[in-house]
Symmetry: C2
Amino acid sequence: MADLARELGVSMTTVSRALSDHHSIGAATKQRVLKLAKKLNYQPNHMAAALRRGQSRLLGVVVPYIEGKFFPSVIQGIEQAASKAGFSVIVCQSHEDVQLERRNVETLLNAQVAGVLVSLARNTQEFHHFDKVRGRGIPLVFFDRIPAGEQVNSVVLDDHAGALQATSHLLAQGCRRVAHLAGPQHLNIYRHRRQGYLDALAAFGIAPDEALIDYSDMTTEDGAAAMRRLLALPNPVDGVFGAGDSAILGALQALKAQGISIPRDVALAGFSNEGFTAITEPRLTSVDQRCEEMGEAAVRLFLELAAAPHAPFAQRQVVLQPELFVRESSLQGQA
Amino acid sequence: MADLARELGVSMTTVSRALSDHHSIGAATKQRVLKLAKKLNYQPNHMAAALRRGQSRLLGVVVPYIEGKFFPSVIQGIEQAASKAGFSVIVCQSHEDVQLERRNVETLLNAQVAGVLVSLARNTQEFHHFDKVRGRGIPLVFFDRIPAGEQVNSVVLDDHAGALQATSHLLAQGCRRVAHLAGPQHLNIYRHRRQGYLDALAAFGIAPDEALIDYSDMTTEDGAAAMRRLLALPNPVDGVFGAGDSAILGALQALKAQGISIPRDVALAGFSNEGFTAITEPRLTSVDQRCEEMGEAAVRLFLELAAAPHAPFAQRQVVLQPELFVRESSLQGQA
DNA sequence: CAACTACTCACAAACGTTTGCAGATAGCCT
DNA sequence: AGGCTATCTGCAAACGTTTGTGAGTAGTTG
């Protein structure tokens, strides 16, 4: 930058201001500076700028993991929106571990990120490690998996609506004994999906039966085990709504292993619209989560928070509407 | 840091040196500093440090995309190794677009990364955008998809060996007319896989037939189309080795659509060991790519380069050995 | 003509570290 | 005692920006 200033016979101040389009620099000067900057291939040192203003153009993201479809897609949305706003994204995985989540947050703070976007680890039940973030006045946005019982800025899917829709669909297809593969209930998403399931039953005038709800960590193996248990019940089930696609995949495999026809004997519907839902046989009905939109929304929210100088106490919430993708695993018509 | 110094009645110099374990600081002083630092919850400002020494603790990664299994797993490996060495990772996607890849590299340089790890976009055939990285003396490591005909630091899978192994396996199972679904040949990985296929044929004394090699972008749809074409040939194929799992999935679907038995009539083997290979029916034989190892190796290489002050011209190469996962899609025994 | 506005620019002090150099203390040898 | 080394510590100058303050010039107004 000093070179630029010397070459043009102006001060560094002017150069700096010209580059950042400050109002107090003449249009002519700006042009000259910009042109020379390009010519000399000037590369601004973001660190110095960040140091000076105490804020970088980095956006920190913490997710439980990046396999499957959901988180990569969300990150995709985040990156897109972020780069549009001139931010770079730095991604950390908590591997479903609070401990690591804490470390990740530290790392991000040390990297002087301008904002932090988080989707909680499965076993995070305590949220003090985020106080530091707020304490430094850094915008904090949760998405998908958000802290229970806390007022936070968040972007979530309307899990309740998705579950309601999926379950209603099964019931509309004629199912009468619909089971539910439920996830850990301390996570908002799984709690809401369960409630959606229950409310759908209620809407159809069917009494809920706790024996038909299976709680697990929702792995494929969990789903298969649950299905086997459900099949052993005296009163047969004729439909299963799973709070995750992996579990439903397990159920599918268990059913096929016993030669039970899908969807004729048992209809299936899952949640997440994972890639593999389109390659199982039959293909799986599932609730799509608007992944990219969620990422974009999270960034938008961050930008708003960053713009409002030390925002008020009011925390903002964004709720996205899911969409049910109906496939053969739940279509009674073509058993 | 000033607080620490004042509190302890020493200079900032001492504090800085104590924290970075400099040899000229007494053990007692170090202890005192460290203890107070913990007590006051001192958070070093990495930006300032980075600015001063012209180097951050950030590692930049550019990948084509982060869906599927391969890249997330590699990133996983990178993160693990990097965080062990005290580095944070910042991930960018090129979306298979040189243009974006170029921008990503710029972004990373502006973020003052300490190193750059790259897997090329599909259409990158020209590599000048990496000159800047080298120009600044920043370690540059390519992995998996590396520049053709350039001397670079790289970590790759032995794709040739993997393809050789997979094809040999098909031949050993009794296949005699084995087709190959090939990817874009300007990418090292696909070129090597094709060569491995050819060499396996040669080893079994089978003459290659260009009509049995299908070139495409390896999507599921491409694979299905290729399979349909192969089935229409006068002389039937009895095995297919695909340079990617998605394409083989397409082939699988096309075969089943025509009621052809797998592996009895046609055996299949793919590449990447994607997650879905275990849920198709029959499950798909595939070559595993040692994803995490690749990430770790890339970071190790980076660290070595960073340690060697302005390394010599010799570029280092790391080659990992793949592993064939045999599943039902290629086991003639249990047709 | 004086006073005011609008515009343009430069000085220099930050931001929070690291580090070359030099100063200080103590112990040891001759 | 003097000189040496070894060990420890502080001063102050960097690193490359941003920005508050103030000064200068021109144009406009009363």
